[in-house]
């Protein structure tokens, strides 16, 4: 039986780990390579790096981080943030990333998704969707959640599947950093609309939120950052808890 995945995410800026509260107010907290190794030894099913480096001159720091991590961690490594072109994807894969997540670039130019999934295979193309509820429906935001697009998130999710995305990483902008739990309705709406796996993200504050993301949100995998990063829970605790709730996990 296929197990539900728990994916710790590390936000990386200028080669260092940070975790944002609502994407601002960042704290510095460690070396990403070391942190990733702790996670993989602790039973992470996959590791995710989100590069939030803003300045162009520091953009290459992520390649170094990915290269070092891939030599120490032998579980899948997903890298996102600032991925704009086929060349960016190629470079990350050559550094040892197993999957690349594309956010803003996919919204601006769907060809990036079509071409990259053809060139590298759907298995390594994850489309990251940042969505916010506008009272009626969910709308896509780009540029780390700063720019509204007017695009409907549910339609967009389906479109990305058709373009060749292998997975969708869905983040609720309303919940991200709040620790109030995933936006379950958003997750379940997208998950039931597409036939590719959905990774739920944004808002995890406790282990019940992970359970809800899978049971109610119908996500194949759950991503979380701060609950693991600040040591509130270990991956082992999380897995045992999910197991006790009848969710299949790799223990």
């Amino acid at each position: 039986m296929l197990k539900n995945r728990i994916i710790p995410c590390l936000d990386v800026k200028n080669g260092r780990v940070v975790k944002g509260i609502n994407f601002v107010d960042l704290k510095d907290a460690g070396d990403p390579v070391e942190q990733a190794k702790i996670y993989s030894d602790g039973g992470a099913d996959e590791i995710c790096f989100l590069d939030i480096t803003a300045s162009n001159e520091n953009r290459d720091t992520i390649f170094d981080v990915v290269e070092k991590t891939s030599k120490k961690c032998f579980v899948p490594l997903t890298v996102g943030g600032g991925v704009r072109s086929i060349e960016d994807i190629n470079k990350l894969l050559n550094c040892g990333a197993d999957k690349v997540s594309i956010n803003t670039a996919a919204v601006q130019n769907t060809k990036v998704v079509i071409e990259s999934s053809k060139k590298f295979g759907s298995q390594c193309i994850v489309v990251a969707i940042d969505a916010k509820h506008n009272g009626k429906s969910w709308e896509i935001f780009t540029h780390g959640g700063r720019k509204s697009t007017g695009i409907d998130a549910l339609d967009y999710a389906k479109k990305m599947e058709d373009c060749g995305a292998g997975e969708l990483l869905v983040t609720s902008m309303d919940r991200d950093g709040t620790q109030a739990g995933y936006d379950i309705e958003l997750m379940s709406n997208i998950s039931s609309r597409v036939n590719i796996p959905v990774i739920a993200s944004g808002g995890v504050g406790n282990l019940d939120h992970l359970v809800e993301g899978i049971k109610l949100g119908k996500a194949s995998a759950v991503l979380a950052a701060s609950i693991f990063h600040y040591g509130k829970y270990s991956l082992k605790q999380a897995k045992e808890y999910l197991d006790s709730k009848g969710i299949p996990v790799r223990i």
């Binding site: 039986m1 539900n4 891939s70 030599k71 490594l77 590298f120 298995q123 390594c124 597409v194 194949s220």
Partner: protein
């Protein structure tokens, strides 16, 4: 001893290289090449594969003499070869991803899309799944039945002769996830991404 990972410019083989180097330490030489002479003189060959069946076969065929060299290595000289993911699938007679494509034909059978019961199961089959070992395989030495391995694929290998199957996994239905026939090995899952237990399989292959 040296092990060659065939680099035929298709897909991302970085993780395969990293994992083999990690296991080999400095005791075994890991070559990454499509050089026919080097393949011929190596002790073992790893055939990785990512992307579609067709794109991988096309990439293999682009390199003059590569298919013949692999044939020589595994079929005529009976030296150990491990196919991973599409690297396993290509051992079949034929694949149906994108379009009907002729495979290497080393293990009779076909590669078809996983029947996901009209959308009941999501594809690709991504993540950790248990394997059921159904035949003693040299690469499963010290690997417990029901170990978790990392999968990512939408197509499955359906061999004609069920005796070649060394492990199966269940997703929508049972499908083949490892084969062994004499000196030829294949895994549908990714040992290079399957944590310590995956590295053990690589270690077993290196130490054959």
């Amino acid at each position: 001893m040296n092990v060659t990972i065939v680099d035929y410019k298709s897909g991302n083989i970085c993780s395969v290289i990293n994992s083999f180097k990690e296991v080999a330490k400095n005791k075994v030489k890991i070559e990454v090449t499509s050089d026919l002479k080097k393949i011929k003189s190596s002790d073992k060959v790893v055939l990785p594969g990512q992307g579609s069946f067709k794109s991988c076969i096309d990439a293999l065929n682009t390199i003059n003499g590569l298919v013949e060299s692999l044939n020589d290595f595994a079929i005529n000289n009976k030296k150990p070869l491990l196919g991973i993911c599409v690297g396993l699938q290509m051992l079949a007679d034929v694949g149906y991803e994108e379009t009907q494509t002729k495979g290497l034909g080393w293990i009779p059978g076909k590669v078809t899309k996983i029947d996901n019961q009209n959308g009941k199961y999501k594809l690709p089959h991504i993540g950790w799944n248990e394997i059921k070992i159904i035949k003693d395989s040299k690469i499963f030495k010290d690997i417990k039945d029901k170990s978790h391995m990392y999968f990512v694929h939408s197509y499955e290998f359906v061999p004609k002769d069920k005796n070649v199957i060394s492990a199966i996994t269940n997703y929508s239905s049972n499908h083949v996830c490892a084969v062994e026939i004499e000196n030829i090995f294949g895994t549908q899952f990714h040992p290079e991404k399957s944590d310590k237990i995956g590295l053990k399989i690589i270690d077993n292959f290196i130490n054959l």
